[in-house]
């Protein structure tokens, strides 16, 4: 390993780490690769080269090349699995499947450390018991985002409006029957260190977003799923049963 590649401690190290992060993000600069990444990240389970190629309208060989570049950068991870329904001898080689990683990459130039500040603030909210105030602030922030989305596209159906507003806030919504689930937790590391605090904040934010956008067909509820957001937006009709 080259000396300059090795993350060191102290100020110099910080700059090197940031440069490493930039090179990871730079892998996404290629538009084809970016389309492939977006497709893989949006799927719940691993996808094969053939599926990814078909979904992005490129050849399988080209898809394989770019998927492997994404895997080398650590943006997606590789698993091996046999196609469903085939097992035992003669089932063929297991297929290479690609899926999103839980690792996160953040780039700021010049370097900033908002994560440390967020952790300190979360600590203080915990100790002082200011959770109700945090939830109020989150609800009104969500409501502002919801209102803005509604004003921007007053005629958009609820479904599309909510999906767009959620994506703009860093969530990755997907349909699960009548419900909307969220593949990404925008506050993942903080939610890990302060679960009730951050999940409660998240719920309030999403409740606010729905009410600000005047969407009554969905209601937010805590329902944590492995590797996903702790909130589900439930079909209000189902809920009323």
């Amino acid at each position: 390993m080259n000396r300059a590649d090795r993350p060191a401690s102290g100020l110099i190290g910080f700059r090197i780490v940031t440069v490493t992060e930039i090179s990871v993000i730079a892998v996404l600069e290629d538009p084809v690769r970016r389309r492939l990444y977006d497709y893989v990240a949006a799927q719940g389970s691993g996808v094969s080269r053939t599926e990814a190629a078909a979904a992005t309208g490129i050849g399988r060989t080209l898809a394989a090349f770019h998927l492997d570049r994404l895997a080398e950068a650590g943006l997606v991870e590789v698993t091996f699995a046999r196609p469903a329904g085939r097992s035992g001898p003669g089932a063929g080689r297991p297929a290479k499947l690609y899926r999103r990683t839980t690792a996160e990459h953040q780039v700021s130039v010049p370097p900033r450390d908002y994560r440390a500040a967020a952790e300190l603030l979360a600590e203080v909210v915990d100790v002082t018991g200011a959770e109700p105030e945090l939830q109020r602030a989150a609800r009104s922030r969500g409501a502002a985002a919801g209102r803005a989305a509604r004003q921007q596209s007053p005629a958009l159906p609820d479904d599309a409006l909510v999906a767009g507003a959620l994506a703009a806030q860093g969530y990755e919504p997907y349909r699960d029957g009548g419900d909307v689930r969220l593949r990404n937790c925008p506050f993942h590391l903080l939610a890990d260190s302060h679960p009730p605090l951050i999940c409660g904040m998240n719920l309030a934010l999403l409740e606010g977003l729905l009410s600000g956008a005047a969407v009554t067909s969905l209601s937010a509820r805590l329902d944590p799923q492995p590797e996903e957001c702790c909130v589900v937006l439930e079909d209000s009709k189902n809920n009323a049963d």
């Binding site: 915990d126 018991g129 959770e131 109700p132 679960p195 805590l222 944590p224």
Partner: protein
């Protein structure tokens, strides 16, 4: 598997008496949350006073301080129940409307030999320990967990 189970104690200073309107949501929900714990994977035991719901009638730390204590097979099963069970997480989200915040640790975890049911005095001494010395192998928190003791250390207990 390790020969050890994980014991947990948490305490909270109630904002009002258990029969007050302020505490009505807590008192109404606690039985349901306890029932969820009883059927959660890895659950072993929880403290009950045989009087109110759960252990809500016990007051070993003062008239307003409620205690909750349980034993689980491992850290993962307790963590999954506390933070990844929807109704329990929702209950925790609302805790500040029922309990005062505390600037010192109000939760302690420690390993017990499988089959041992800790008493309240044992639990409270572990809470004292984590408050006095910070997290360590004999008393720790979710934030700074410690692995179960290696079997050789069992004789030293």
């Amino acid at each position: 598997m390790t020969g050890y189970h994980l014991a947990e104690l948490n305490i909270g200073t109630a904002r009002a008496a258990t029969d007050s309107p302020e505490m009505a949501g807590f008192m109404a929900g606690i039985a349901g949350v306890n029932a969820l714990a009883d059927t959660a994977p890895g659950f072993v035991w929880r403290l009950q006073d045989g009087d109110g719901p759960g252990a809500t009638a016990l007051r070993p730390c003062g008239p307003d301080v409620m205690v909750n204590m349980s034993v689980w097979e491992d850290l993962g099963s307790l963590r999954d129940f506390v933070y990844r069970n929807g109704p329990h997480l929702d209950f925790m989200r609302r805790r500040r409307s029922w309990f005062h915040p505390m600037a010192v640790p109000y939760l302690v975890l420690w390993w017990v030999p499988a089959g041992h049911i800790p008493g309240l005095d044992e639990a409270l001494s572990r809470l004292d320990l984590v408050r006095r010395d910070g997290p360590g192998p004999r008393a720790f928190t979710f934030r700074d967990p410690c692995p179960p003791p290696v079997p050789a250390a069992q004789a030293a207990r």
